[in-house]
Subunit: 203 residues, 2 copies
């Protein structure tokens, strides 16, 4: 990736989801975006509505110690890039697959949040008739959208690498998730009403 | 778990999948059972037939070092028990979810291979109309079976903890996977012909 000068200053603003999520309260409940998703999945599971889990963080394990009378201890390992999306599961017989991203920006979602292999994975899922999408959280605006994977793929093919997806495009092609009830992020309502309806994957 | 005397000697025989899989050739191609599954999933993916991945090993990360000019290094972490099954994905619109286990025993699969939360997870998947099963490999016999999750759950409820599932039960309720072609473990043939047919989940 080439770093153009104007991107250097931008980097301070759109920090990646992980570091940012620790600082931003979600929906005024003291939750981060990721916590809100996991909390909602827990709610769906407990109510028998869906079985959706976050995949474990992929780690490349290099060295493991086996201390006597103690459990195995990993002493050297590195984070790997995920080859798929973060969340998957089953809802009413449908395969559900999504990635979650957040930004502090008010007008766009930086496309560097999405890796080529994740885009490719979502294409493969759609080919198998799975339900794939991204959850996009604008923490400053306190707005969250479900964007069908096809809209992300379409934009990615036009605007590969480095740039941003305007919030207007997201509002046009995606669906806002209204927060404040239970679960805190009722994204399956949108899946059920919008993606599983007759206008499958198209708004 | 109580260790009865007669189980101590048994432990030498039915070692867990991971240590055993390194030593046993699979289907005379120099593959382990896990390699054969991953290889088959790769084949299915490359041929546009299914999108099924192994989940990353769950690791509890305790301490990470951030050396200057170098990538983050995990210096203390521990293996966690998986709360779900190892493999999941989508095949022709169906949610696929399975666990793979192997044994050197010739007459039974030790039930200690299955944890209560994995059984519970499979029940939840079935309730959401997902396709759930286990792949059972008898390395000494060189036989592999696909056993629908319901048959495992039924057996588990009768025989909780410690004992073994007889191979006769597996042969009666499951389906043998015939090896030797491409992919090396064509388990989706069985899924398509037996689980997605009219006699859904019942033999």
């Amino acid at each position: 990736m080439v770093n153009y000068p104007h991107q250097v200053s931008r980097k301070r603003i759109d920090t990646s989801g992980k570091s940012e999520s620790r600082q931003v309260n979600f929906a005024n409940r003291g939750m981060t975006f990721e916590t809100a998703i996991n909390d909602s999945n827990q709610y769906y599971l407990a109510h028998g509505k869906a079985v959706i889990h976050k995949k474990p963080t992929p780690v490349q394990i290099v060295k493991v110690d086996y201390p006597k009378r103690s459990r195995a201890k990993i002493v050297e390992a590195y984070f790997r890039h995920a080859s798929t999306t973060d969340y998957s599961g089953v809802f009413k017989g449908y395969y559900i697959d999504f990635e979650a991203k957040e930004t502090r920006q008010k007008t766009a979602m930086p496309m560097k949040n999405f890796h080529a292999h994740q885009i490719e994975h979502m294409e493969q899922v759609l080919q198998q008739r799975g339900i794939a999408f991204v959850l996009l959280h604008f923490s400053t605006l306190k707005e969250t959208y479900l964007l069908p994977a096809q809209a992300l793929i379409d934009f990615y093919q036009i605007d590969q690498g480095g740039k941003s997806m305007p919030i207007d495009y997201i509002r046009q092609k995606g669906f806002e998730i209204i927060m404040g009830g239970f679960p805190s992020l009722p994204y399956l309502d949108v899946v059920e009403k919008k993606l599983l309806g007759g206008d499958n994957f198209e708004k």
